[in-house]
Amino acid sequence: MRKTAERSYRLVSLTSVGVVLAAWLVASALGVLDPNRLPPAQTLASAVAELVQHGYSGKPFWLQIAASMGRALAGFVIAVLVGVPVGIFIGSSRMFDAVVSPFLAFIRPIPPIAFVPLFVFYFGIGELSKIALIFLTSFLYMTVSAASGVRSVPEDLLLASRSLGLTRRQIFFHVTIPASAASILTGMRVAMTLSWALVVAAELIAAQVGLGFLIMDATTFYRIPYVFVGIITIGLIGLALEWLLLLAERRLLHWRGKQ
C-alpha cells in the first residue's frame, strides 16, 4: 500500500514537471517569450547547437564542462582522502577532538565564498585557488560526518567484538570503519553536491573557462540564452552526481537503517 502511494507521488512529480515544461513550450510556440529575458525553446535549442559546434570564448563546450567537473572532483577527492582519516581520528580520540575542533567549528559557518578573494590572492587565478576552496569546504564536511560515524558505533558492538577475541586494531579496521561507512557515504554525497555548487560560484568570480565563467561572461555580453544553457547544464550535472552517489549508497549500504 505504501509502495503504491510512493508511486503515485512520483507520478505527481512527473506531471508537475511536465506541466511547467508544456507551458513553456506553448509560450515558445506562441512567440510571446523575449529571447533575452526568458528564452523560448527554439532559441535555447539553437544556443545549445551553437555551443556544441563552436564552443564558447574559443574553448569547446565540453571543455567548459570538464573544467568545472575537474576542479570539483579534484577538490572533493582530496577532501575525502584527507578528511575521512582526520574525522575518524577526531571521532576516536577525545584529545585530538579537543585540540582541533574549535578551529573547525570556527571555520565551518563562514560562507566558503568569503574565502575566494583571499584564495585568489594566495594561489592565483588558476586551478589551485578553486581546488583549494572546494577542498576546504568538503574537508570540513567530511571530518564531521566521519567523526560522527565513529562516535555512533554502539559501545556494546565494540565490547562484543572484544569478547570474540578481536584485537583493538582489528576492531578499528573491521568494526569501527565499516560501522561508520554509512555516515561517511552520506557525508560524501552532501560534500559532492556542495563541491559542485561551489565550483560554479568560484568560477563566477575568477576563471577563464568553466560553466561558472560561461554564465558570467555570457551575462556581461547580454547573451542570455547561453546563460540559460549554462544554468540548465549545471543543474542536470548536479542531479546526475547526486543520483550516482545515492545509487552507490543504496548498493553498498543496503543494510543501513533497517536494524
Binding site: 556494546d156 558492538l157 565490547l159 562484543a160 578481536l166 543494510w255
Partner: protein, 255 residues
C-alpha cells in the same frame, strides 16, 4: 567426585561514583562458583547489580572488592573464553548470517576449512541453515538472538555469559529459545551464567538459581533445582517441585 570449578566469584563488590554525594554501592560481597557444564542463573529486581556482575566477568568492568577467577586465573580483560550474549543482539549489520558466525574465528586466524565446517555445524544447531545468506535486518528478533548464540558458540568459550538474552522477545519466541538453549546445553555441555528476572525461565533452565536482593546486590539465597533433565516445559512448569521452587523464589524476592 566434585566437578571442576570453571568460574569463581569471590567476595565481589562494586561501587559507582556519583558526581553529587556518596558513591553508590551496586554489589556487596557476592560469592559463588560455577562448575563445568553447570547452568547457573542470577535473578533479582532491576538495579540489583546482576548485569554489573556479568559485565565484570566479561571483562568490560572491574570490581572494587574481591576477585573474579576463570579456571583459577584472575579476569583482566575481555576475551574469547567468555562468550557474551547480549539482550540486544550485537551483530554486524553489514555481514550476512554465515559471515557473522565466521567473523570471530576468521579474525583469530583459524584455518578456513575448519571455520566453514564449524560454522555450518553451529548454524544448523540454532536452526538458521536456510538463512545463511540473509542479513541481520532480514531476520526476526528470535532469529537474531539465535545468530548471536551461534556466533558465540563457534568460539567454544569456557563460559557462556547471557544477559537477559530472551528478555526482549515475545512469550512464544522466548519459550522456543529456552528449549533451544537446553538442547544446545545437552549437546555442547557449556558452562552458563544466565541473568534474568523471569523466575520461570531461571528455574526451568538452571541447575542452580541465586536470588539477589535490591541494591546493594547481595545473594540472599541459593536454590538448587533438582528437576531431572531433559526437561520439557509443559510438563516441568506444571509439576509440584517446580511450583514449590517458584513459590520459594517469589517469597524471597517479595522481601
Amino acid at each position: 567426585m566434585t566437578p571442576r570449578v570453571a568460574l569463581e566469584v569471590r567476595r565481589v563488590g562494586r561501587d559507582f561514583a556519583r558526581p553529587d554525594g556518596p558513591s553508590l554501592r551496586a554489589l556487596e560481597d557476592v560469592s559463588f562458583g560455577i562448575a563445568d557444564s553447570e547452568i547457573v542463573s542470577l535473578v533479582g529486581p532491576s538495579g540489583c547489580g546482576k548485569s554489573t556482575l556479568l559485565r565484570m566477568i566479561a571483562g568490560f568492568d572491574f570490581p572494587d572488592a574481591g576477585e573474579l577467577l576463570l579456571d583459577g586465573k584472575r579476569i583482566a580483560e575481555p576475551g574469547q573464553d567468555r562468550g557474551v550474549v547480549f539482550q540486544q543482539p550485537q551483530l554486524y549489520p553489514w555481514l550476512n548470517v554465515l559471515d557473522n558466525v565466521c567473523f570471530g574465528p576468521r579474525m583469530r586466524g583459524v584455518p578456513r576449512e575448519r571455520i566453514s565446517e564449524a560454522a555450518g555445524h553451529y548454524i544448523r544447531s540454532v536452526g538458521l541453515e536456510r538463512f545463511e545468506s540473509h542479513y541481520p535486518y532480514q531476520l526476526s528478533g528470535g532469529m537474531r538472538q539465535r545468530l548471536q548464540i551461534a556466533r558465540v558458540l563457534i568460539n567454544e568459550p569456557r563460559v557462556l555469559l547471557m544477559d537477559e538474552p530472551f528478555g526482549a522477545l515475545d512469550y512464544q519466541t522466548r519459550l522456543g529459545m529456552q528449549r533451544l538453549l537446553l538442547e544446545l546445553a545437552a549437546e555442547y555441555r557449556p558452562t552458563v551464567l544466565f541473568i534474568t528476572h523471569d523466575i520461570d525461565e531461571a528455574i526451568f533452565i538452571s541447575d542452580r538459581v541465586h536470588v539477589m536482593s535490591p541494591r546493594p546486590g547481595r545473594i540472599i539465597e541459593t536454590i538448587e533445582v533438582d528437576i531431572p533433565r531433559p526437561r520439557v516445559y509443559d510438563e516441568v512448569s506444571a509439576s509440584a517441585p517446580f511450583m514449590a521452587l517458584k513459590l520459594r523464589t517469589l517469597k524471597l524476592l517479595a522481601h
